[in-house]
């Protein structure tokens, strides 16, 4: 049983998704417990695998007993194990937090929603666990298709945003597939470890076909993760979706795509090829700098909470891509650490914004007046999330940013370090503007036509339901806990994940 955990991580959610879909006709009340149980199992088993990886090194699972270059293998190493825990934990926390929202938004389609939700997690977990380049594409599409549907379920502008996302997402995934095709022609293999062995050979590392494969794979993944200037689909898709969907998609999709990028670069194309043979990393860091600056500036121009958060997500993608392509140990450590931290921060902010819109039915800044008095606990969690995004110790955001900035300085890339500091300052402006509105402005200011009784009613506490508050508080707390344990995470997990050739 235990040695089959890597396969069960994908198989159990896949089968549960089918049963939830059947149950939604027979016994709709059982859908939520079953979904909860399935995600609970996923979280428990990924924590178990993480423990095993830390104790005794990477776990390799051969599907059906077919060994490595011929069969499909699942490889869970120091890089994928912590991301697995993050993916399953975010899915479980958001499920609990959003159950009320799901009841309200999708009362007649709950079974469908839960089915898509589990399938999405299946795809994400599979992307993280797989050791096969083509299998990665299939799981990428499973996650993407369910993601489009989860967004499209929202109202009223969501279907159009989702369709636009679908067009761009399909182009991205197809480019990745095309890149894998060229790799297959060049090497005759699809297994990641096997591909890395081939690419290390001089006749492949000098071939233009492998270079083309790298460029087109990366273009596909950059499109999927919303790296500027390929970010066009992201803001509308995430802000028009129901908060229950966007709090799942926003923390996971972009982060897992960055994980896929790191995996493909380090374990398929090998660091020597990506950072040495190809003279491309400096250019990509400059693109990332543009992503950080433009994402931050566009976030400043927004007038509603969710839109602003989506542009922050775009800037954060720039952090991680730039940090990785610095090509030194500090930068890659920061980038991998930021995947974990940013998933938690984004989840915290989206959950808080979801709780606010659950009560106020609007997320525009003008409706946030006096929200601190009405929803003190939600806003406390939001504040912690905001401090983490700005990068104030002891929240986790500070530490990953620290690694990224040091990485930028070590690599002599001062533009990247400057962009990070600029973005932190812009984030500070963004969030303190919200605090100003939410704490100091009273709700009755501009609406004097309300009679007095109504006015007083607006100052009363209308906190979000407990099923939303508790997961939100746990997430906010985890930001501080992750920050305090940064040293352990880096020394025991992330350092071991980065190949020794990178100094």
């Amino acid at each position: 049983m235990v040695q089959h955990l890597p396969a069960l991580l994908v198989v159990v959610p896949l089968l549960t998704a089918l049963s939830v879909s059947a149950l939604s006709w027979l016994a709709p009340r059982l859908c939520l417990p079953l979904t909860f149980g399935c995600l609970g199992f996923s979280l428990a088993s990924s924590v178990g695998i993480l423990m095993e990886v830390i104790a005794s090194g990477p776990v390799v699972y051969t599907m059906g007993g077919w060994s490595s270059p011929i069969g499909i293998v699942y490889v869970i190493d120091y890089l994928s194990a912590p991301i697995l825990v993050v993916v399953t934990a975010v899915a479980l926390i958001n499920l609990v937090a959003s159950s009320k929202q799901i009841d309200r938004d999708f009362s007649d389609k709950k079974g469908t929603f839960y089915t898509l939700y589990i399938l999405f997690v299946t795809g994400m977990v599979g992307i993280v666990a797989t050791g096969d380049a083509f299998n990665l594409y299939v799981l990428l599409e499973i996650a993407a298709l369910t993601g489009y549907s989860l967004i499209g379920l929202g109202q009223p502008r969501a279907p159009l945003s989702s369709l636009n996302y679908l067009f761009i997402g399909t182009i991205g995934a197809s480019f990745y597939l095309l890149g894998v095709g060229y790799l297959y022609i060049a090497t005759g293999s699809l297994n990641m470890a096997d591909l890395a062995r081939f690419i290390a050979m001089p006749e492949h590392s000098s071939s233009t076909m492998v270079m083309f494969a790298f460029i087109i794979c990366m273009t596909g993944l950059f499109t999927k993760m919303g790296l500027f200037p390929l970010h066009g689909w992201l803001p509308n898709a995430y802000s028009h979706a129901s908060p229950a969907s966007s709090a799942l998609l926003a923390p996971l999709t972009t982060k897992v795509m960055i994980y896929a990028m790191i995996r493909v670069c380090l374990y398929v194309f090998t660091p020597a090829y990506v950072f040495g043979t190809l003279q491309i990393s400096n250019a990509i860091v400059w693109i990332a700098v543009a992503a950080i600056v433009v994402g931050s500036l566009l976030a400043l121009t927004q007038k509603s909470l969710f839109k602003m958060l989506t542009y922050i997500v775009i800037a954060e993608v720039g952090y991680m891509v730039g940090g990785f392509f610095l090509g030194n140990r500090m930068g890659i450590t920061g980038s991998a650490l930021h995947i974990i931290n940013d998933a938690a921060m984004t989840l915290c902010l989206f959950l808080a914004a979801g709780a606010i819109t659950y009560r106020t039915k609007s997320d525009s800044f003008s409706d946030l007046k006096g929200i601190f008095k009405r929803m003190p606990f939600t806003m406390t969690a939001f504040t912690i999330g905001a401090l983490a995004v700005i990068g104030i110790p002891p929240t986790c955001g500070f530490f990953s940013k620290w690694y990224l900035i040091i990485g930028g300085i070590n690599a002599g890339h001062y533009g990247f370090a400057a962009a990070l500091i600029f973005s932190s300052l812009v984030n500070a402006v963004l969030f303190f503007r919200i605090f100003e509105i939410a704490y100091f402005q009273s709700p009755g200011d501009s609406k004097d036509h309300h009679h007095h009784g109504h006015h007083r009613h607006k100052d009363k506490m209308v906190e979000a339901p407990l099923s939303m508050l508790i997961p939100l508080m746990i997430t906010a707390l985890s930001l501080i806990v992750l920050g305090i344990y940064t040293g352990d995470i880096v020394t025991h997990v992330i350092q071991a994940a980065i190949p020794g050739v990178i100094s």
Binding site: F134, V138, Y148, S149, P156, L163, L166, L177, G181, I185
Partner: protein, 131 residues
Amino acid sequence: MEQIVTAIGAKYNYIVYVILMMIGLYAMIVKSNLVKKIIGMNIFQTSIILFYVSTAYKTGKTIPIVPYQGHDAVHAADYINPLPHVLMLTAIVVSVATLGVALSLAMKIYRQYGTLEEDDINENLRSEEGK
């Protein structure tokens, strides 16, 4: 000149797939009708299937099945590589699923706005925001 012609003759499958791909991309970017965009997307995906399948082909070779009386197709050089075909079966399933999701989203959009022309929908949205 002669070299170019022979190069094109030997690798025409790549040229055809790139042309198909560009037709698909063009339709997705330029057309304003959503269904035409979806058709473009499908052409785009099909071009990649063509690319994969054509790379497996070997002139004059046989199918990858070992005959009963076994006289050929035991050596890899004698049969057409089956692996890209198998991969593309999966890719075809993915593209059908994508098409299904795209069409159902288009239906939802049509019910909401009464049109599939992107310009009309945008105008609709602008006038909604103006209210």
